[in-house]
């Protein structure tokens, strides 16, 4: 029995309030039909007896107290799923916008998902080769990981994400099992188009599902976009056995949408006006990455977020860092000095790499090498700050070597072409070559056996 409720009692921002509603359930989807025939969707967000608060995805513009008919759909927000998702483009709420018509659903799933039971998780160990030296060597991406890119406006995070998506190879499986889910939240039209074009050029467009909520699309839909994308990703991974790479940009816009929604509900704000449940909410997205026992697929996430004013302590990057398994931080100074990808080495980290590298995965010397590179590069920073006070000339000979090492490291190791795909062995060798410019006794993170094998100071540089 479907009842239409005529009119609304109250309108506040993107929320409408209905009285005397019977049989509604929490988080249920509603259709709202305006008198002019347009159809909008909404969701029940709060209930008190027979009074129901509904969030309208497309916004409340044009809604008056009595020009609407509201109908409860009887189920929470769902996404239609089928293997045909691949190659399709949807809007932020999961409706097709590529003109190819609705997809014929094989299954439907609640977009909120359900938490993976921690005992059913498989601890991720297989590394993904991205062909980017810094990432592969120093913050290795692991299948089933969530590794965000912390960036700022104007930096080359999109290029980096595209390069990762294009070059990512899973070491032991064929490519046919690999696909990409792309979610744009409040992204500029140009950015979305850039991604589409790049996927097209590299011939993977048929392996991509896109969910686009552009910056001029309804803000409330933005809250649904990542959920739709992850629901599609989970379906492809755990039902179709594919390895799914989910790219979500920009998480900051998403969090801002959540803030707008929260304040319109009159909730008590936390830090910087973001709702107190921002952590739980972000976690409900990020935690959907992973692998599950008995299923062959995996969901790997690369969320991109722009740090307002490059501030890593802003609530969005801060909370993200506490949930995700590491982060790739981009650096404005490197970016402006023309280093691509401008990966800031020291604050970047991959928490899962320690078990996914080394013998049997990459190479036996990997872990020691990456520790040493981090430690040596940290010393470069000390030497530089000293040099900025007393001048480079006054530095001790060792410190001068560090300055030179830092320069070479940034130019040859960090920096690489946007189409350059370096094999893991190549990156590791390059790392050793650079370390060989330092005095041997400075390399205190590596044991002698490895040094004998790889430390060759006399060799000419690449």
């Amino acid at each position: 029995m479907l009842i239409d409720y005529l009119g609304v009692r109250e309108i506040n921002g993107s929320l409408i309030v209905l009285d005397d509603v019977e049989g509604a359930s929490f988080e249920e989807v509603v259709d709202i039909r305006l008198d002019d025939g347009t159809l909008r969707q909404g969701r029940v967000v709060q209930m008190e007896g027979s009074r129901v608060v509904i969030q309208v995805f497309e916004g409340t513009r044009g809604i008056s107290l009595d020009n609407t008919r509201t109908r409860l759909k009887g189920h929470p927000m769902e996404l239609a799923l089928s293997p045909e998702l691949l190659g399709r483009v949807f809007d932020g709420a999961g409706r097709p916008i590529d003109g190819l018509g609705d997809i014929y659903p094989v299954a439907r799933a609640n977009i909120n998902g359900t938490p993976i039971n921690p005992v059913s998780r498989v601890y991720p160990k297989n590394y993904i080769n991205t062909g980017i030296s810094t990432i592969d060597t120093l913050m290795t991406l692991i299948r089933g990981q969530k590794l965000p890119i912390f960036s700022g406006s104007g930096m080359k995070h999109n290029e980096l994400a595209v390069q990762i998506a294009r070059q990512a190879r899973i070491s032991d499986e064929g490519e046919e099992k690999f696909c990409i889910v792309f979610a744009a939240m409040g992204a500029k039209n140009d950015v979305a188009e850039y991604f589409r074009r790049s996927f097209d050029e590299s011939g993977v467009l048929q392996k991509v599902v896109m969910f686009l909520n552009l910056s001029n699309d309804p803000i409330i839909e933005r809250i649904l976009t990542p959920r739709c994308a992850l629901t599609a990703a989970e379906y492809l991974a755990f039902e179709q056995g594919m390895h799914v790479l989910v790219i979500m940009t920009d998480m900051t816009s998403y969090a801002e949408a959540l803030r707008e929604f929260s304040s319109s509900k009159g909730e008590i704000p936390g830090r910087k006006g973001f709702p107190g449940y921002l952590y739980s909410d972000l976690a409900s997205l990020y935690e959907r990455a992973g692998m599950v026992r008995g299923k062959s697929g995996s969901v790997t996430q690369i969320p991109i977020l722009t740090m307002p004013n490059d501030d890593v302590t802003h609530p969005v990057p801060d909370l993200t860092g506490y949930i995700t398994e590491g982060q790739i931080v981009l650096d404005r100074t490197l970016d402006s000095s023309g280093v691509y990808p401008p990966v800031s080495i020291l604050p970047s980290l991959s928490r899962l790499m320690k078990d996914g590298i080394g013998e049997g995965y990459t190479r036996a010397d990997h872990s020691a090498l990456s520790n040493q590179l981090f430690a040596s590069y940290a010393k470069v920073m000390d030497a530089r700050s000293l040099a900025s006070v007393i001048g480079e000339e006054e530095l001790s000979p060792t410190d001068k070597k560090y300055i030179e090492f830092g320069k070479q490291f940034e130019q040859h190791f960090v920096s690489q072409g946007a189409n350059e795909n370096r094999a893991i062995g190549e990156s590791l060798d390059l790392g050793w070559q650079l370390l060989s410019t330092l005095p041997r006794e400075e390399l205190d993170r590596v044991d002698d056996r490895l040094l004998d094998q790889y430390y060759h100071p006399d060799q000419k540089e690449a």
Partner: protein
């Protein structure tokens, strides 16, 4: 008078559900919400509205669905089968849930906490006519090959044993003894009992904390030791190694039982703990680590209210094993997530917020939790302890935020993790100038008795060198190290050996991941010996660069790897070599 059938849901807002005009609930009572019987807890009552926090997703709930009271507060089942298990925040066994509902957790899974079908090899410790009181052990069974489970008379009960079952196979809910209390009422004692999670289990007497919890981590054991029954906070921004430090402590500390609470943390990390602990062998017993471990996993995407409860569930289990006479360590990772859960629920209740949106009762909740740690004489006369080690994730890595500050007030160890150290991959990244331990006074007699007086002396010297270094570094940062006189350069070089060779510890190296106290002492001895000898040379005007060229400093940096834990005799060779090389230097 209870009229459960008349109570229905009135309002729903996220995890908070309200019931209108009901007089049948009491505060903190556990309730079942909705047709699916989701678990919830009463957190507020007025004459108009009863407020309930629900421990599961509320999507799909409708006003009008029933709410049923259970008549008792949120409690956990205590009995054999807790160890080697993994629970969610309200003690539901996740393995059993997996069997029931698959890889994704569905709602309303009603699975009993302990395996009811499993038979335990029970030996009765009482006979009819015995007088028993609360805490007395009436039956034991081997819960795992290394831990004996001791079933105790519930604290409030005492009387005379009326009858017992013979020794043999019994299940958790089988009655093994019957007790007649003073008023003549009969009580059946099974292998398990229930206890409300928010009430501390009573003890006979609290003791001074005079035993150290030995962790095998040099920076902790030597510089910032913690006592059994103590409390410690590990604050650190993301990426500073809180979780790694917690894992190391859980693996190596010398407690009998480990309770690891993953409170609002990453799912993949929990699966790593599961993997690692089942592979790791406990050095003392030769059995898998899981035989003495309980995991409580409430990952960040699981319901927020259960996250709030998980800390209490963990500490209640810890107290239960303490009552049996065990030393228990509970790792809570991370208490900030718990505080945020409090904030989130407080926000839904529209309470007046205090600092940064946290409720005003945050400090009192934190102190209630940390005060449940302690070393005590239990009701049955045995000794036991609960040690709490809580990680704190300060927002924006700012230690002045409310959770860190308030935790600092109620813990006596503060192991501050430092971003700069973590960036340089100096692990454990415990900053030696910001951290402190208040347990020295309690523990020094133990250290003196077991390791000799030198240990404390060495520690003091090491501390002084590090302090001197940090002052000198201020100068070095401004003008470079070249201008320092040789004796100050020597301090810097020695401090480098201490930092890299001693404080820094490699969790992945088989000898370095756990270091016995005796080796820690010997390492300090050798480092300080070199320092003393080198200082004599420096004051005899031997240039420091010549001393460095002997390679002794670099050799000491690597001694943690070069000297296996079972070859402590090698330290004397190091001393001999220092003597030899420095004598050669003087001779030339």
């Amino acid at each position: 008078m209870r009229m459960n059938d008349t109570n229905v849901i009135y309002g729903i807002n996220g995890p908070v559900v309200t019931v209108k005009e009901s007089h049948s609930f009491s505060m903190m009572e556990m309730v079942y919400v909705g047709e699916e019987r989701l678990v919830g807890e009463v957190i507020g009552i007025t004459s108009e509205l009863t407020t309930i926090q629900v421990y599961e997703e509320t999507t799909g709930l409708r006003p009008g669905e029933p709410v049923t009271g259970t008549g008792s507060p949120m409690n956990v089942t205590l009995g054999p089968g807790i160890l080697d298990n993994i629970f969610d925040g309200i003690e539901r066994p996740l393995k059993a849930i997996e069997e029931k509902s698959g890889a994704f957790i569905s709602r309303g899974s009603s699975v009993s906490a302990l395996d009811e079908g499993r038979e335990w090899d029970v030996a009765l410790r009482v006979k009819p006519g015995d007088e028993v009181k609360g805490g007395d052990i009436y039956a034991v069974c081997p819960e795992t090959p290394i831990i004996e489970h001791r079933c105790m008379v519930p604290p409030a009960l005492s009387g005379v044993i009326e009858s017992v079952k013979p020794d043999g196979k019994h299940r958790v809910n089988d009655t093994v003894a019957v007790l007649r209390d003073k008023r003549g009422a009969l009580h059946e004692l099974t292998l398990c009992q229930h206890w409300p999670i928010r009430t501390p289990r009573p003890v006979a007497q609290r003791l001074q904390t005079t035993l150290p919890l030995i962790t095998g981590q040099r920076v902790i054991d030597t510089l910032f030791p913690i006592a059994k029954g103590g409390t410690a906070a590990i604050p650190g921004g993301f990426g500073t190694g809180k979780t790694m430090t917690q894992h190391q402590l859980a693996k190596w500390c010398d407690a009998d039982i480990i309770i690891y609470v993953g409170c609002g943390e990453r799912g993949n990390e929990m699966s790593q703990v599961l993997d690692e602990f089942s592979e790791l062998v406990d050095p003392k017993s030769g059995r898998p680590m899981t035989d003495r471990t309980v995991l409580i996993a409430n990952t960040s995407n699981m319901p927020v209210a259960a996250r709030e409860a998980s800390i209490y569930t963990g500490i209640t289990l810890a107290e239960y094993y303490r009552d049996m006479g065990y030393h228990v360590a509970i790792m809570a990772d991370s208490t900030s997530r718990w505080a945020e859960a409090l904030r989130e629920i407080s926000g839904r209740l529209e309470e007046m917020p205090a600092e940064e949106g946290f409720p005003a009762y945050l400090p009192s909740r934190l102190s209630e939790f940390y005060e449940r740690a302690g070393m005590s004489v239990n009701l049955n006369g045995s000794d036991g302890s609960v040690t709490i080690i809580g990680a704190v994730s300060p927002q924006g890595s700012d230690f002045s935020e409310p959770v860190t500050q308030n935790t600092k007030r109620f813990t006596r160890c503060f192991w501050a993790l430092d971003k700069a150290l973590a960036y340089a991959r100096h692990y454990p990244a415990i900053n030696w100038t910001q951290s402190y331990s208040e347990y020295f006074i309690d523990l020094d007699p133990w250290y003196t008795e077991n390791l000799g007086e030198e240990f404390i002396k060495y520690r003091r010297r090491i501390n002084r060198l590090l302090q001197e270094e940090s002052q000198l570094m201020e100068i070095v940062k401004l003008i470079g190290s070249d201008v320092l006189p040789d004796d100050q350069k020597l301090v810097i070089e020695t401090a480098r050996v201490i930092r890299v060779g001693f404080l820094q510890q490699n969790a992945f190296h088989q000898d370095d991941t756990f270091v016995p106290l005796e080796k820690q002492k010997q390492m300090m001895r050798v480092i300080l010996y070199l320092y003393r000898k080198a200082r004599q040379l420096v004051s005899a005007s031997v240039p420091i660069s010549n001393i460095l060229e002997t390679g002794l400093f670099d050799k000491l940096v690597k001694m943690k790897y070069d000297i296996p834990n079972n070859r402590l005799d090698l330290f004397d060779e190091y001393i001999a070599e220092i003597d030899r090389l420095l004598a050669e230097l003087v001779a030339s």
